[in-house]
């Protein structure tokens, strides 16, 4: 499925949905709970369950996502990491049978309030996918795409250059902006997708295994980029690479799969969320310990 194209199509359909004011300042909506938790909460997830039809894919998720932090979701395949990630910008709306229970607030606003405009949600909360998915257009047009459809009145050249600079791609592409984005290497394409996400000036960037299709050098560049841009953005990343989670994230959430003995139905659950250094030095839950040390999974 070409997810990038689906998003824009659906955005067009949803454009007329009445809007709730998502313009909120960045003052904390939830009090900091410890000295380590100084950053304001951007998303607050409570009792979240996601269903596909009658199948409950993930249940009872509760966690905060804090501003200017990189939060990593780790866990074995099928544990619901991506499903939860997709709730943050209502990507699950695009799946007919998907249903969300519980609450996700964004700066205190219920993200699933029917009055909330999903287009505005996706402008503020960008997404980068596992496989780089540039549009079959020029490098310039890829980055300018979001600002154009969003009716951004600023200087497009300036916006494109700024986004490419912030995604550490400018020097490599400044002389061939009108060339096709498909001529870029995989790592460059992924940075272009990050530039495309940044161009609409989002607050949050969701990344779904953004490096899994890249070689180690390209992966290193994306990781460097993430630590640079977290000063300006809030990042949530799903990764299968635990070393990557340990390197780049500030906070880490471990999900696993629970199997119902009688029905054999598998449901994703959040086991533990904590500072990354704690998760990789002395996790509280034995299941986390077993997973990060590679004993089970």
């Amino acid at each position: 499925m070409e997810e990038g194209h689906d998003v824009t199509q659906t955005e067009t359909e949803l454009k007329d949905v009445p809007d709730v004011d998502l313009t909120v300042d960045v003052t904390p909506t939830v009090e900091a709970t410890s000295a380590d938790d100084n950053y304001p909460v951007v998303f607050d997830v409570k009792d979240l369950s996601v269903f596909y039809g009658s199948f409950r894919a993930v249940r009872d998720v509760a966690l905060p996502i804090r501003k200017h932090e990189v939060t990593a979701f780790i866990g074995p395949s099928g544990c619901g990491k991506t499903t939860v990630l997709r709730c943050f910008n209502r990507m699950n709306d695009l799946i007919d049978t998907a249903r969300v229970e519980g609450t996700i607030t964004y700066h205190g606003v219920d993200l699933y309030d029917p009055r909330v405009n999903p287009v505005e949600v996706r402008r503020r909360i960008g997404m980068v996918f596992q496989k780089p998915n540039p549009f079959p257009k020029s490098i310039y047009d890829n980055v300018a795409y979001g600002p154009r459809i969003g009716g951004d009145k600023g200087d497009l050249d300036e916006i494109v250059e700024g986004a490419l600079r912030r995604s550490a791609l400018w020097d490599e592409v400044k002389d061939r902006l009108k060339k096709s984005a498909l001529g870029l290497s995989g790592g460059q394409q992924q940075r272009l997708c990050i530039a495309r996400a940044i161009a609409v000036n989002p607050e949050v960037i969701l990344m779904d295994e953004p490096c899994s299709a890249l070689d180690p050098i390209a992966t290193g560049r994306i990781e460097d980029l993430m630590s640079e841009i977290k000063q300006e953005y809030t990042i949530v990343i799903v990764t299968h690479n635990m070393q990557q989670a340990a390197r780049i994230s500030d906070r880490c959430a471990f999900f696993t799969t629970e199997v119902n003995e009688t029905s054999d139905v598998r449901t994703g659950v959040l086991v533990e969320v904590d500072r990354t250094e704690k998760m990789f030095s002395n996790p509280t839950d034995d299941r986390t310990e077993n997973y990060v040390t590679g004993r089970f999974g």
Binding site: F280, S281, N282, P283, V292, T293, G294, R295, F296, G297
Partner: protein, 222 residues
């Protein structure tokens, strides 16, 4: 779900056992040390020197093994704490071995040390106590026993008392041999006191290994 990293787990257990083996070698030298203090048997010196060479070689080889595991396995959580703890315990064991040897090398001066009963009695009591304390450390390591490790992590007040009394007695010495007795006895007493400290450090490191509590790390480093 089936267990994974079986080979790695087995390697860690083997490493723990080899540290234990090295600790037993150190224990044997501590026993020789106590014997030398008791009887001044100079024949123990070459045996202890050879044993100490073996301890040093084990230290090098096990340290290399730890580096190899760190490089190869990129351990985290309890695995990482374990390997780092092994590295630290190895150097504690090596130090204890050196200090025991220092006392053993005083064998030719046994008559001199024994010539002043008050200080000689204190020395022998100190030796008994540090050997007991070391054996607690060895037992804690072998069984990964948190209660024993926690008890060890608290420095023994009685060792300080012995050490202070020893110094006071030495300062009171008079006569032509006073300086020689004092210097030799002090060297032995100082080494014994240090051995007790190193056993305490092993307890503290073991406690952090078992709990992972940052407060225990702070206590360990202090």
């Amino acid at each position: 779900m089936s267990p994974m990293r079986v080979a790695f787990t087995a390697e860690l257990e083997q490493l723990r056992l080899q540290v234990e083996l090295m600790a037993v070698r150190v224990d044997q030298n501590l026993e020789r040390m106590r014997d030398v203090l008791e009887r001044g048997d100079t024949g123990a010196v070459p045996v202890a020197l050879a044993a100490d060479d073996e301890i040093d070689a084990m230290n090098v080889s096990l340290t290399e093994r730890c580096y190899d595991l760190l490089r190869r396995e990129a351990p985290v959580a309890s695995d990482l704490r374990f390997i780092v703890s092994v590295l630290r315990v190895l150097s504690e064991l090596e130090r204890i071995g050196d200090l025991a040897l220092r006392v053993i090398k005083l064998a030719p001066d046994h008559e001199l040390i024994a010539s002043n009963p008050p200080t000689y009695d204190i020395l022998r009591s100190m030796a008994d106590q540090v050997v007991d304390r070391y054996r607690d450390a060895l037992r804690a390591w072998a069984t990964l026993d948190l209660a024993v490790a926690t008890e060890l992590a608290t420095p023994a007040r009685s060792m300080d008392v012995f050490y202070e009394r020893l110094l006071a007695e030495l300062l009171r010495l008079t006569g032509p041999e006073a300086a020689r007795v004092a210097i030799t006895t002090f060297a032995a007493g100082r080494a014994l006191e240090r051995i007790g400290d190193h056993a305490t450090i092993i307890g503290a490191r073991l406690r952090y290994l078992l709990t992972g509590d940052p407060d225990h790390l702070a206590a360990e480093v202090r």
